[in-house]
């Protein structure tokens, strides 16, 4: 399988493991070092028996983040822009051979998130947030009915018939399973519509 990869593929594979520095990495490491430092200071105030392990864990976190940030500085100074970021794989190509070693899901996922436009993010996050707000306010079953119909019809572009049948079957299955068979509690909502 690997015999079919080109030198460019091999280079891209190697680059995956290279210490590539992106701004995001530095921001994440800075956020984490602040979190570890705040947790360390907080743990310092507890009595000794409660603080031993937290101090060790957060101290280790501070050391690791500091080494990582120092390494970022060294790599950027030494190589600067000569260490290129990974080329984004073309996630629109469906023709690639899934057995090919160059098919790298992690790279593909990373490139996908990097390539999504603001509008798509806004629409998807709006649906995502609406689902959880509805779950919190209305509870499971009303959310299942309203969200499923609206999402299938207007976002997945399925027919009204399929949307309604899908919603009915899904909600009925949830009700039968959680209310009748297992008798497990489900989110009831602020106004108790699912209780």
């Amino acid at each position: 399988m690997t015999d079919r990869t080109t030198p460019e593929d091999d280079l891209r594979r190697d680059q995956t493991d290279a210490p590539i520095i992106e701004k995001g990495d530095i921001v994440i490491a800075c956020v984490l070092v602040v979190a570890f430092a705040a947790a360390f200071v907080t743990a310092w105030q507890w009595e000794a028996i409660a603080s031993y392990f937290p101090l060790m864990a957060t101290g280790l976190g501070i050391v690791l983040c500091s080494i990582f940030l120092a390494r970022c500085v060294v790599v950027l100074r030494k190589h600067g822009a000569s260490v290129p970021p990974n080329p984004a794989p073309d996630v629109t190509q469906d023709s690639r051979d899934p057995d090919d070693a160059s098919f790298d899901q992690a790279d593909s996922d990373r490139a996908f998130f990097a390539s999504v436009g603001v509008t798509d993010w806004a629409i998807s996050l709006a649906y995502f947030v609406a689902f959880f707000v509805s779950l919190y306010v209305l509870g499971l079953y009303p959310t299942s009915i309203i969200f499923t119909v609206v999402y299938l019809r207007f976002q997945a572009r399925t027919s009204w018939t399929l949307s309604v049948i899908y919603t009915a079957v899904l909600t009925a299955a949830l009700y039968a399973l959680f209310e009748i068979a297992l008798k497990l509690p489900v989110p009831s909502g602020l106004i108790g519509l699912s209780s």
Binding site: R13, D17, A29, L32, A50, T58, S82, D94, P98, S124
Partner: protein, 503 residues
């Protein structure tokens, strides 16, 4: 012993026991497929049903359900990237990428076959070790258990996909998350920000569901052209290929099963830890470690074998000493008491027939799960042909119910959402997510045994030979992996610079 095994089999195939076993298999299949609804919770829910039953039919229901749930838990990991059981989390790493390559049947076939072999291996361990385990288990103390946890951390590098530093930081972040909640020694609320919901800590279920499943779901929602789901035609021969893959990697199945059963035997370490250690071992010993996390069939096989083999091991201390090897076994221990059984030496003498009946229950439940699995695999693989966005409402509901079932509180749903965000950030900037899970699982174990060791031995436990040996092995493993990663990254940077200079 053989005569007693025969007698135990007769009890298990009696009509009442067999009926309960089939009921347990059916419930276990549903429970396993539903994310977040763990076997431990369902055992607890089913215990009242067993009031008044004889022990064998009662265990046929409880244990049969539990074993099948562990096997079926792999299905949702492969098909939707959402682990049906916390102990099936490692199956997501390679099972779901294989699904995306259009090889769902192969992954499910391998998962089912390796789970079945793992279950049989675990039960063989249970049968063989019951008479000889007592002296060994009684000699393992908190210091050795702490050292075993440190050994677990040694697998971070191999689970970091080449980003050793990022992996180590994420694992430490996992350790920090494990500290959230009431301090077990003093009752001090730690990092709870005044929230009562956080007093119980952060459970692994909302973290796994958010970090792995949530990020994947958001990707499907964002993907208006259905680009990220590489849905090939589910190959009908794929299931058989998966089974043959498992048989071809028989030694890996045995090694992963042995690791899982071994860790399962040690009380308090748990199946979640076993799967990561076995997965890390599989990657370390693989000829193609770069495929792990990208759709390695070996990763699927190791995770599958682990998901079931651990239970046979966990039953050993539960039955022999009344010391539960995991949360599920702790719940099962409650069933022992309710059914009038006394875990301990009596289970190896006067009640040996009940102990041996558990062996048969696991064997028969495994065969039933395999049969049911093969019947259901083809319809299940067809689910992968459905357009991603059509699955969104179903997956969102499963995701939220999986998180909610952890504590029956919306707070765990919020925790899950936080980890969806962390998961997306981690994917976007290539920070490995698995070490965070390992840190979260090991953090609680490490702190518990660190505190116990210190309160029992002061600091002298650090000089115990057994502790020095285990931590020494961990240090060598970590050092070797860091050295390998540093050498590799150094040569890669030089190569990249040369290539760019040449261009």
């Amino acid at each position: 012993m053989l005569e007693q095994l025969g007698g135990a089999l007769q009890q298990v195939v009696a009509p009442e026991s067999l009926l309960m076993l089939l009921l347990g298999v059916a419930i276990g299949f549903v429970v396993g497929i539903l994310p977040g609804l763990g076997g431990a919770v369902t055992i607890a829910l089913l215990i009242p049903v067993t009031f008044g039953m004889d022990p064998v039919p009662a265990f046929a229901l409880l244990l049969g359900m539990y074993v099948v749930a562990a096997i079926a838990g792999d299905f949702t990991s492969v098909l939707f990237g959402i682990p049906g059981e916390p102990s099936a989390a490692a199956m997501v790493f390679d099972g779901f990428p294989l699904n995306k390559k259009g090889q769902a049947g192969r992954a499910l076939g391998a998962a089912l076959a390796s789970s079945a072999i793992g279950a049989l291996f675990g039960v063989a361990v249970l049968t063989a070790l019951i008479p000889v385990m007592r002296p060994l288990v009684l000699n393992i103390g908190p210091p050795e258990l702490f050292a075993a946890g440190v050994l677990g951390l040694a697998f971070i590098a191999s689970l970091s996909g080449g980003n050793v530093f990022k992996g180590a930081i994420m694992a430490t972040f996992g350790l920090l998350l494990a500290l959230v909640g009431l301090d077990p020694n003093t009752g001090v609320p730690r990092y709870t920000f005044g929230s009562l919901e956080l007093w119980e800590g952060i459970g692994i279920v909302p973290v796994v569901v958010g970090l792995l499943g949530g990020a994947e779901l958001l990707q499907i929602m964002l993907d208006k052209d259905n680009r990220t789901r590489h849905l090939g035609k589910p190959e009908l021969g794929g299931i058989r290929t998966g089974v043959l893959d498992t048989l071809r990697h028989w030694f890996l199945v045995l090694r992963a099963s042995a690791i899982a059963a071994g860790i399962g035997i040690v009380p308090g370490l748990g199946g979640s830890m076993a799967q990561f250690i076995a997965y890390g071992h599989a990657k370390q010993t693989s000829k193609t470690p770069e495929q792990f996390g990208r759709g390695s069939i070996e990763g699927v096989i190791a995770a599958g074998a682990t998901s079931t083999a651990k239970d046979g091991g966990a039953l050993v201390p539960t039955i022999a000493f009344g010391v539960p090897g995991s949360a599920s076994m702790a719940v099962l221990l409650g069933a022992f008491v309710i059914l009038g059984l006394d875990p301990g030496p009596a289970m190896l003498t006067s009640d040996l027939d009940i102990t041996l009946s558990m062996v048969w229950i696991i064997v028969l439940a495994t065969f039933a799960a395999v049969a049911l699995g093969y019947v259901m695999l083809r319809p299940l693989t067809h689910l992968t042909r459905v357009t991603g966005r059509v699955l969104v409402p179903f997956l969102l509901l499963l995701l939220s119910l999986g998180a909610y079932s952890q504590s029956n509180s919306f707070a765990t749903v919020v925790v899950m959402l936080v980890f969806v965000v962390i998961g997306v950030i981690a994917i976007r900037w290539n920070w490995p997510r698995v070490p965070l899970l390992l840190g979260l699982v090991l953090g609680e174990v490490l702190e518990r045994y660190f505190s116990l060791s210190r309160s029992i031995y002061g600091w002298s436990w650090l000089a115990k030979p057994s502790v020095i040996v285990i931590i020494g092995i961990a240090a060598v493993l970590i050092g070797a992996q860091i050295l390998r990663a540093v050498r590799k990254s150094r040569s890669t940077v030089e190569t990249n610079v040369e290539v760019r200079a040449g261009a």
